[in-house]
């Protein structure tokens, strides 16, 4: 009895205090969708210390991996919308509905900040007998079922980029699945696979060292890290409806979190994302800094979801039609 009265009092005091007046009053939890050492992990761990300074509390980060990020996403969604649990994730949840992985995606969260975006490129083994997208597609056409490409599973970056290419030209490729771009890029150097789409940041150091070569840039404008590579839209102008497109990293809170809290967090992460140290790190890695929040972030998320969902649906490996979720065609 005593305990329940005490409990009620505690509960009352929590309700009574205007919880968002001086947020944050305690440490914040950050839940990272991907494992330690991966790119999401690295980005989050390099931006968050700058945000901590702004907020004046610690942000304790844990990696909750599994189910292409769905486990972390569902975990944060199951928590209170009080701003004390942040979801630190990559682009994957935007495909959950269409691929049938989960019933929630980022439209059930409020973006705090979309920190940075990656640029997809095509990289190939140094011995491959082609040097640009035109030569590659000609070669693949002439040798059906011979070219091996690394892939990171359905809904992963490589599958979506290949589906984009498939919308322009039909190629017969062997798709070898790997758990992530790290192992796949290793296999590319080993000659196990010949070519693969990968994010620029993951391959740039290997390219600089001459251990693999760039075949194409999946963007609609030239990238300053690869000044000599023509954007893919020059070979396949039809792709310009989809581009620019790329994986991204963002910090989110559950939907219906009080606006004052969202603003506070957004301002901290916005400052952190423009911190010169962080910007320099991202630049070197070939990630484009975005640092956007609010309506701009929502618009970006919507556009990513519509392009990716329809691409995988048209390529025939979606479980549900994007129409079921009212996702508009790009």
């Amino acid at each position: 009895m005593k305990k329940s009265i005490l409990g009620a009092l505690v509960a009352l005091s929590i309700v009574a205090t205007p919880a968002f007046a001086d947020f944050p009053q305690k440490d914040i939890q950050g839940v990272i969708q991907w494992g330690a050492g991966g790119s999401t992990d690295t980005v989050m761990r390099s931006v968050t210390p700058h945000a901590e300074k702004e907020l004046g509390v610690d942000i304790i980060m844990t990696n909750r991996t599994g189910g292409v990020g769905a486990i972390a996403t569902k975990y944060v969604y199951a928590k209170k919308a009080d701003g004390y649990t942040l979801l630190m994730g990559a682009e994957n949840p935007q495909m959950y509905k269409t691929l049938g992985l989960a019933k929630i995606d980022y439209s059930d969260f409020t973006p705090i900040n979309i920190l940075a975006r990656g640029v997809p490129i095509f990289v190939a083994n140094n011995d491959a007998p082609y040097n640009n997208m035109k030569e590659f597609t000609d070669y693949a056409k002439a040798n059906p079922g011979k070219v091996k490409t690394g892939s990171t599973g359905k809904g992963g970056l490589s599958s979506i980029v290949l589906a984009m290419l498939d919308s322009q030209i039909k190629l017969d490729l062997i798709k070898v699945p790997y758990n992530g771009d790290g192992p796949a890029l290793t296999a590319l150097q080993a000659g196990t696979v010949d070519i693969m789409p990968a994010v620029l940041g993951a391959s740039i150091e290997h390219i600089k060292a001459g251990r693999m070569k760039v075949i194409g840039l999946v963007d609609n404008k030239v990238n300053k890290l690869l000044p000599n590579t023509a954007p893919i839209t020059e070979t396949f102008p039809g792709l310009s409806t989809y581009l620019p497109w790329g994986p991204f990293f963002g910090v989110f809170v559950k939907k219906d979190t009080d606006q004052a809290i969202v603003d506070k967090l957004a301002s901290a992460y916005s400052k952190a994302s423009h911190n010169p140290e962080f910007v320099a790190l991202m630049d070197k890695r070939g990630f484009s800094i975005m640092g956007i929040g609010g309506a701009e972030a929502v618009k970006f998320l919507e556009s990513y979801r519509s392009v990716s969902s329809w691409i995988v649906h048209d390529a025939g490996f979606s479980k549900h039609s994007p129409e079921e979720f009212n996702i508009p065609r790009p």
Partner: protein, 502 residues
């Protein structure tokens, strides 16, 4: 040369770096000893913690934790039969029986010295042959990983005791458990029954803690009135003659450790198990049978898993490709500290290589110091009354299982496997093959399917390409030799040849 030497000794000369390496190694030994608290986790927490530090300070602390942590896993494996990490599973097989005979002190002493020797082998190979080894590691194709897995799974024979059939059953059970979760290649759900928590599969660490720790505690309940064995603690530093006698074996298994550690797809856990199998095969007449406290069975995995540390750094430093989960986190840390990890890192920051080598050497020396001190105190743990010891094991198991992924589901799995392990032991089923199956299941599953996809689903092409590649051929022949040498036909033939020769 002089330059290399000065980079090598950077961390030896600075009291601050020296202190941080010592602190890291000390923490590592104890983090490694607690099952569920992994080196990977400790190092990734340190990334945030050391964010504003100088990069050298951060690296000293992290290297220390890595070296100490890999060694530390053997502590609880020997004393309580709970391996602190999957790489210490093989250590428990003969280490724990030694502790039961009152030889815990000697076992810890011997494992410390052999870990340090293994560590040095790893460091030497890293220092003199890193580019060669990393190029060699890249030669491994999916079919070669498959054959490594097959070599590993044949260990079921070594782990089964006297009933092979029960061992095979246990191994298959493990392989089945390992297939639960999202299919690594297609992300289809397998045996998940629509439960999201099962997408990531059943944690091998939870299975390990349950099958080893909890089932041991439950079994001990039958012997509550038995007094604990008095531990002999007069001899902790192993005899020189012992070290000399086992040196060839530890050098052999260290080599296995370096190579398996340097492969981007395998790490210390598989290295240690393969080393155990190797020891069992080359030791003709052990003083004590394997599984009952053979020193060879303790030495082999301990040397191998510490040698794998140096091995894991080889592809990381030369190519920017992580050799295991811990070096993957190291790469992230280097990136955050503004170094560009990748194949160019050594050209841009030549000091990094020799600094790391020097640092690992230093950490390895600290492992020797911290490993050999405090053994007397630790050996006493086994002498605790059962009423204190068993709840302690259960508590440690629960904390460890929760710490794997901060998930209560892992605790339930761990307890469930504890109960299964208890009944398996009651009916004389070996538990070792189960965990072996869980560890190797994914490696074999992935590698087989990847290699067959590469051959466009053609089995004949798979074998033709296997016979065409020298590396695959060597691996294939060694598998065949191991299989054939165990058949009765071979033994008869061998007997006849020797007879006619005499």
């Amino acid at each position: 040369m002089m330059e290399a030497l000065s980079f090598f000794s950077t961390s030896w000369m600075s009291p601050q770096l020296l202190g941080l390496t010592a602190l890291g190694t000390f923490l590592g030994v104890y983090i490694g000893a607690i099952p569920g608290l992994s080196v990977t986790m400790a190092v990734s927490i340190l990334i945030s913690f050391t964010f504003s530090w100088d990069v050298n300070n951060a690296l000293c602390l992290m290297t220390g934790i890595f070296m100490g942590g890999v060694y530390g896993g053997s502590r609880t494996a020997i004393l309580l039969n709970i391996p602190g990490a999957p790489s210490a599973i093989a250590t428990a097989l003969d280490g724990y029986p030694m502790a039961l005979k009152g030889e815990a002190g000697e076992a810890i002493g011997l494992s410390t010295v052999m870990s340090v020797i293994g560590g040095f082998v790893g460091i030497v190979v890293l220092a003199i042959a890193a580019p060669v080894v990393s190029d060699f590691a890249l030669l491994f194709q999916p079919r070669d990983y498959l054959m490594l897995g097959v070599l590993g799974i044949m260990l079921v024979g070594s782990l089964s005791g006297n009933n092979l059939l029960k061992g095979v059953f246990a191994g298959s059970f493990g392989v089945l458990i390992g297939t639960v979760g999202l299919d690594p290649l297609t992300a289809e759900e397998r045996f998940t029954f629509g439960v999201v928590e099962l997408w990531n599969g059943i944690s091998p660490i939870a299975v390990m803690i349950g099958l080893f720790g909890v089932s041991e505690a439950l079994t001990q309940l039958h012997f509550m009135d038995k007094t604990a064995i008095k531990q002999k603690i007069d001899r902790i530093i192993p005899r020189w003659s012992d070290v000399k006698k086992y040196l060839p074996l530890s050098l052999q298994t260290s080599t296995i450790g370096v190579v398996v550690g340097a492969l981007p797809g395998t790490g210390g856990d598989i290295a240690a198990l393969m080393a155990y199998d190797h020891a069992k095969r080359v030791t003709k007449n052990p003083e004590v049978p394997f599984g009952e406290g053979a020193k060879e069975g303790l030495i082999a995995p301990e040397a191998a898993n510490n040698a794998a540390v140096g091995g894991a750094f080889i592809p990381m430093l030369t190519l920017g490709i992580p050799g295991d989960a811990v070096t993957a986190v190291f790469l992230g840390a280097l990136f955050i500290h503004g170094l560009n990890p990748g194949p160019l890192m050594l050209t841009e920051n030549p000091q990094m290589f020799w600094f790391t080598v020097g640092n690992l050497t230093l950490a390895n020396i600290f492992v020797l110091i911290f490993g050999l001190t405090g053994i007397k105190l630790f050996a006493k743990i086994v002498e605790c009354p059962k009423g204190v010891l068993l709840p302690l094991i259960l508590l440690l198991s629960v904390v460890g299982a929760y710490a794997i992924n901060n998930s209560i589901a892992d605790v339930w799995w761990m307890l469930g496997f504890g109960v299964i392990g208890y009944f398996m032991k009651q009916y004389d089923y070996p538990v070792g093959p189960v965990i072996l199956g869980v560890i190797l299941s994914r490696l074999m599953d992935e590698s087989w399917r990847r290699s067959i996809i590469l051959e466009r689903e053609s089995v004949p092409d798979f074998f033709i390409n296997l016979l065409m590649s020298p590396l695959s051929l060597v691996l294939f022949i060694s598998i065949m030799l191991i299989v054939v040498s165990k058949t009765t036909l071979w033994k008869q033939a061998k007997g006849r040849i020797f007879k006619s020769a005499s």
